[in-house]
């Protein structure tokens, strides 16, 4: 049966996955309908080809520098470092990217690939709307029609981002099926793709989906970790002791972690614990779910005893997904990365701490990472170094935060 290939074997390298079938241990794979299989294979071939073409990388680097504004700074958060009284805390400032989050690193890479493949129509799913905005942005840049699927529930709670996408020329289609959130938007985008196989490129927003998406999105996001390596060596003359990032699907985390997986340092992924793991209102797939198959890959999923997918809950719409990228599932079972969770309330506290302490309004997503940093930094030595990915800015979240704090705007 070959189902326990990954059984916690310690590989020579944690950076060599996936295998040729898109598997990270038992995770990942290509669980899609036959209609999509030829497209997935075509995409994989095109991506491999692009990877071996220096002009593709050169195009990526050009737009990364001049359009996105990379490299993003690595900033020593003095005030919070002092306040926590332990390890030195660095923020990787991906919230300073054009569009305000790490998402655009990936949409840039994928749209360059779509152009290379001659595709003339772009579709994407979005939850909070950050990926939708990043997809709509690059579509505007390269003058390609863009259709964004977004759950009806999410549209109601993220209206500023819906308007942003429309300003950028995208068509936003409300998804009413299921519970009208990110997983339903992804279902609907896959349905669109099945029906428009000739001309359409599907820009998936995280390190999930059928192979090659998890590896491809990780590769585009790895610019984060590569920059951190250079920047921290320059600032401190050595690598950090710990990396921390929040995880919904897990793309910002994979981007930060991947270049460091074979180094001797601790790596921590922070899932959204919602109202708590002892409730049914959370989004912690690894710490609260079991392996299953959804959206083209095998990974940890929130599901019931019958294999029906359960809705995730988080105060942060961007972490509100019942699955997680398959490489994270593998890193979890291999014990290479530690996965923890942080509740809505803890994230909200960290959000306010960061606003007042550093003058940075963080997105609710990295507020989860910061909440965990706040827990562990005080017990670390002053010479220890933590790098946390500040993967998005919080302008989009001010209404949610106001509501949570009981403030009427």
């Amino acid at each position: 049966m070959g189902t326990d290939k990954s059984a916690a074997a310690s590989p020579d390298s944690y950076r060599s996955g996936p295998d040729q079938h898109g598997h990270f241990g038992i995770f990942g794979g290509r669980f899609v309908a036959e209609t999509l299989m030829p497209l997935i294979l075509e995409l994989e071939a095109a991506y491999n080809d692009a990877n071996h073409d220096s002009s593709f990388q050169a195009d990526f680097d050009y737009y990364a520098a001049h359009y996105i504004g990379r490299p993003s700074p690595l900033y020593l958060a003095h005030s919070l470092t002092n306040q926590f009284g332990g390890a030195k805390i660095y923020f990787k400032r991906d919230e300073l990217n054009h569009t305000g989050a790490h998402k655009i690193n990936n949409t840039l890479g994928q749209i360059l690939l779509a152009r290379r493949m001659g595709k003339t129509r772009i579709i994407a799913e979005t939850g909070a709307g950050q990926h939708g905005v990043a997809a709509a942005t690059v579509c505007a840049l390269f003058d390609l029609p863009c259709v964004i699927y977004m759950g009806k529930t999410d549209i109601e709670r993220q209206s500023p981002n819906v308007f942003r996408m429309k300003l950028l020329g995208a068509e936003v289609i409300p998804v009413e099926s299921g519970t009208g959130t990110l997983k339903d938007a992804m279902n609907e985008a896959l349905r669109d793709w099945v029906a428009n196989v000739e001309d359409t490129f599907y820009i998936i927003g995280t390190v999930a989906g059928p192979h090659p998406y998890p590896a491809m999105v990780r590769d585009f996001q790895s610019v984060i970790g590569r920059e951190v390596r250079e920047q921290i060596l320059k600032a401190e003359g050595r690598l950090p002791d710990m990396l921390v990032a929040c995880i919904g699907g897990g793309s910002n985390a994979m981007g930060l972690f991947h270049p460091f997986l074979d180094e001797d340092l601790r790596i921590i992924g922070v899932e959204a614990g919602g109202l708590g793991l002892d409730t049914d209102k959370h989004a912690a797939s690894l710490t609260g779910g079991v392996p299953g198959v959804l959206h083209g890959n095998r990974t940890y999923l929130l599901q019931d005893e019958d294999g029906q997918i359960i809705d995730a809950h988080s105060i942060s719409a961007g972490l509100d997904y019942p699955g997680i990228g398959p490489e994270h599932s593998w890193l979890h079972e291999s014990n290479r990365v530690e996965y923890v969770s942080v509740t809505d309330a803890e994230a909200l506290d960290a959000f306010q701490l960061c606003c007042q302490g550093e003058g940075i309004i963080p997105a609710l997503e990295p507020s989860h990472a910061l909440a965990h940093v706040a827990k562990i930094a005080p017990d670390m030595a002053p010479e220890d170094i933590i790098v946390m990915n500040m993967c998005g800015r919080g302008d989009k979240d001010v209404f949610t935060v106001a509501a949570a704090l009981g403030v009427a705007l």
Partner: protein
């Protein structure tokens, strides 16, 4: 072991159709839609109404290859307490009275993954399931369910689609048994229909690659379409139209109205006229 000796029920069905000189009608309903009793009542009556084969959908919360009609059917079934155990039980009860009509379970992998692939294969054989169609298990992922199913004697029916090119076709057909399900459009269930001439061409092409019976599905809604398709292929699959008829027989609270099975069976009889 209840392993199919000699001709399996499914093979016998297609042989009988061939002898009768007509194509078959395959009807799809979702197990437990809109509630366990109504669903079983309809299932039980499908053969007499004119269904030659039955596809029984295993409800799933996230049916990515299905259109609104079958998505809603899954939701209704799940809301009414459908589960894998109940679906298999439904087949067992059906099989107690009907030893002849093949039942194919159709759905997505995750509910089986959770149930346990080995347990699923074993239990499906036990209750008298003849074959399975798992939408999101392409040949690239054959190891964990397709191989054990075939070994146990369950037919593994694969979908061939308009995007399946010649280079890929042998791989898709390799572990396919029972029949081949040709998806007539690139798209989801219950949306659009392909032109008969396009399907005719595709089926003639497929026949050069396989001796298995060929069924055609997606976009077949009327007796006329059934007649057209069974003139081209060995069977026509009707799903969304039948499921839509079920939805039309629900009251405002979503409860089955008394004539649900009657009306759905009447539709099946009309569709079956297309095969005669």
């Amino acid at each position: 072991m209840s392993q199919a000796g000699g001709n399996s029920r499914l093979e016998q069905c297609f042989m009988d159709l061939s002898v009768a000189g007509r194509g078959g009608l395959v009807t799809f309903i979702t197990a437990g839609d809109p509630d366990p009793d109504s669903s079983f009542e309809l299932l039980r009556r499908l053969p007499a109404a004119g269904a030659d084969l039955i596809e029984l959908g295993m409800p799933f919360s996230d049916p990515m290859a299905d259109g609104p009609a079958i998505q809603s059917a899954s939701q209704r079934a799940l809301s009414a307490g459908a589960s894998m155990v109940r679906t298999l039980d439904m087949v067992a009860r059906f099989r107690a009275d009907d030893k002849k009509t093949p039942i194919i379970l159709m759905g997505y992998y995750n509910p089986i993954h959770r149930y346990g692939p080995a347990r699923f294969v074993n239990d499906a054989m036990q209750v008298g399931v003849d074959g399975v169609i798992i939408v999101d298990l392409p040949p690239e992922e054959d190891e964990e369910l397709c191989h054990p199913a075939l070994t146990a004697g369950l037919h593994w029916i694969r979908l061939v689609t308009p995007t399946t090119g010649d280079a890929r076709l042998p791989l898709v057909l390799k572990n396919t048994s029972g029949f081949v399900y040709y998806v007539s459009i690139a798209g989801i269930t219950g949306t659009r229909s392909a032109a008969a001439s396009t399907i005719d061409k595709a089926i003639k092409h497929l026949r050069r690659h396989t001796d298995l019976p060929l069924a055609v599905g997606f976009g077949i809604n009327t007796p006329e379409q059934v007649a057209e398709i069974t003139g081209i292929a060995d069977a026509a699959v009707v799903g969304s139209a039948l499921v839509t008829e079920i939805a039309a027989n629900l009251d405002t609270k979503g409860k089955a109205m008394p004539r649900l099975a009657d009306n759905a069976c009447a539709l099946v009889s009309r569709l079956a006229e297309g095969t005669r």
